[in-house]
Symmetry: C2
Subunit: 417 residues, 2 copies
């Protein structure tokens, strides 16, 4: 049945009947966060056997149980540098959270400044570019530090670079959040042209930085999709100081106990490690070493991610299947080749109501608006779907609930607004 005004009463009545049934099922499902499922975590159980009380931690004169080695153990730097396609001098392997690294990098810019510029705390009217829809935790960090968040439209090829290039002419614009591969939430991969234009970017602010959160760099569902290496490309134009690249094993090994890292130019690295030397004597090297012993090298990680894809693929397919069957004509969704999310655009003005109806039926989705700066979706249209955590059968139910609620929200608006 087509979604026309004439059909709205019938669609509403049918959907409401269905909704009553869902209510009676007393569901309790959560599709709100990109959280690995238990079986994904168990894939790395062997990592916990890679280290034990008999492990020799004395490597090349360093005891990995002791203090020291600020920038990560050489074996971990080697493995992740290879995975990221950078030199070992361009990587610092740290603790369990790349979000923590990103937050700290923003904080360092505020407190100490970058590229010899004044600390951003001593500058006025700070602004930050936020390709939207995007990752709520990114936006929140820069909101906390008082940046004005500026929406940049997303396209299938990445942020609209015409808009980015225009905004960076303003020297109060200090950075941009990017999830370049299997973007959160659409699953888009930035095109070569987009990466090239980032590499050649000429921001007015010397302390402008591209926060390149490659959270899903090896998180393909079938074939891997290549992404140009921004740090290498930027180097060709002498622009390497613009780039902070981040990554972690949070969605490779353990979400809470992985290893995170930052890649940047040697010049930025010198400032980072100097400041870091005040903050800590070193990160958890035993956990870094466990990761190295278990995955061996970058290829080991890629092999591991094939098994991960086998777990995630059926979940994405289930979501596509239900959307295709029950959402077609009403909503539009992305079909990512990797990552953790599917982005769904509902008719304007119905996302909040849809998510609220689903919540009342016991199915939690990411809050409508969360994918936009200040959690305000100007169209009240976008919902992020996170298929990783629930089992496939629950996913099917949750997505049916979602489509049912979307129908109600649309019909209500059509008829009563």
């Amino acid at each position: 049945m087509e979604y026309t005004r004439e059909n709205a009463p019938e669609i509403l009545s049918e959907a409401k009947q269905q909704y009553e049934k869902y209510l009676s099922m007393r569901l309790n499902l959560n599709m709100s966060r990109g959280k690995p499922a238990p079986d994904q975590l168990s894939l790395s159980s062997g990592l916990l056997d890679a280290i034990n009380g008999k492990t020799i931690f004395n490597v090349n004169g360093n005891d990995y149980r002791n203090y020291g080695i600020l920038d990560g153990i050489p074996e971990a730097k080697e493995m992740f540098a290879s995975l990221c396609g950078v030199r070992t001098s361009q990587i610092c392997v740290m603790g369990n959270s790349s979000l923590n690294i990103m937050y700290d990098m923003v904080q360092r810019g505020m407190q100490f400044g970058y590229s010899g510029e004044k600390p951003m705390n001593a500058q006025k009217n700070l602004k930050w570019l936020c390709p939207s829809p995007g990752y709520d935790r990114h936006f929140s960090v820069t909101e906390l530090f008082g940046f004005e968040l500026i929406c940049v439209p997303m396209t299938e090829n990445g942020p609209d670079m015409d808009v980015v290039e225009e905004y960076v002419k303003d020297e109060t614009v200090k950075g941009i959040w990017c999830v370049p591969k299997y973007s959160n939430p659409q699953g888009y991969v930035y095109s070569d042209e987009t990466v090239e234009r980032f590499a050649r970017l000429q921001p007015a602010a010397k302390d402008f930085r591209i926060y390149w959160d490659n959270a899903y760099g090896v998180h393909f569902l079938d074939e891997d999709v290549p992404l140009l290496n921004l740090l290498n490309e930027a180097e060709k134009y002498g622009n390497e100081d613009l780039v902070f690249m981040f990554g972690s094993t949070s969605k490779i090994s353990f979400a809470g106990s992985g290893v995170a890292y930052i890649c940047c130019s040697e010049k930025n690295m010198a400032q980072l490690t100097r400041l870091l030397s005040f903050q800590t004597i070193g990160h958890d090297k035993i956990n870094q070493y466990a990761h190295v012993l278990y995955y061996k090298n970058a290829d080991g990680i890629r092999e591991h991610m094939k098994k991960m894809a086998d777990i995630l693929r059926p979940k994405f397919l289930k979501v596509f299947e239900v959307l295709e069957k029950e959402g077609k004509g009403l909503m539009k969704w992305t079909v990512p080749k990797g990552g953790y999310f599917i982005s769904c655009d509902l008719p304007c003005g119905t996302a909040k109501r849809t998510v609220e109806l689903a919540r009342q039926a016991g199915v939690i989705f990411t809050g409508a608006g969360a994918t936009y700066p200040y959690k305000k979706d100007p169209n009240d249209s976008n919902v992020r779907i996170a298929p990783s955590y629930p089992p496939v059968n629950e996913l099917g139910v949750a997505m049916s609930v979602f489509c049912c609620c979307a129908k109600i929200a649309w019909a209500e608006k059509e008829l009563f607004c």
Copy 2:
């Protein structure tokens, strides 16, 4: 032989002969940092067996491998709260480094402010109290953030509280560094009166904080020496918001891979966890859980520390023995009942030269001056001795070198300055 001017030529000549012998031994010893020795680390090898690929991480509905639980797993909060004598609502168990927590707390005060006051970045002429001699890394953090560091004399009972109480009348004084138990470097334990006076402190600045780094809370050498609980005492006077207490297992389990925590009032905790929720999704809960499974509870940690004491005690005794035999009359040293350091006061104006002579003979001591703000010891007298890392026999040699160098430095000064 007494250290008089008349005896100086003979003392110098004998010491120089001895020094030549040390040079010919081509020593390579390091007594500079409070770093656990390998056998201390191996005491906790069982911790690495406490967790393996078959461990059940699903506890009370939480998967400790996954994201979440910002303030630490309940079992770890319970164990460390009991160890610290605080309520579980007053503790946040975090990552591997208490220095990192302290740095971040200073940074939060700079960026966001405490007790509703303006961020310290927006205030002027900031000052910080530094009981001296003290811990170089503490002083460096507040120096980095631009505080003027103010020396407060240390006594056997803790910082000179008359001086502290006088300084805090100045509202630009924002904090004080304390190592209240087995202080770094003297090994002093703050007296009940000192703790009481801290608990009743009336600083002019509402955002003043006592940074109470209880790094050696259970690090006794023989019998434990009791320390009053500052947070509890302060609460009696409605002063609990003044107190940040820190601790870690860096010198209980693994120096680089322990678990660190902060204890503070519930009001401060609410601000901390709010800000923390922007910075990370949670710390390494697998490592927290391993610590709980291995040590079981606070008593388990105390039992473990008896074995630690058995390793450390002979090292301290060796240092005392050599100082008694070869340093008496020339220098003064502390005789701590716990902790990681011995503080040695050389004749004024000879510490730098002594440490430099030892370095040339292949024995590294903590840089002279390092125990003072800006690394400037006004008397050029204090040297921190860290006996933990070298084996006992090497310690003996290192301390003999130290005494020999101190004699040369003294005699040179006596004769040629």
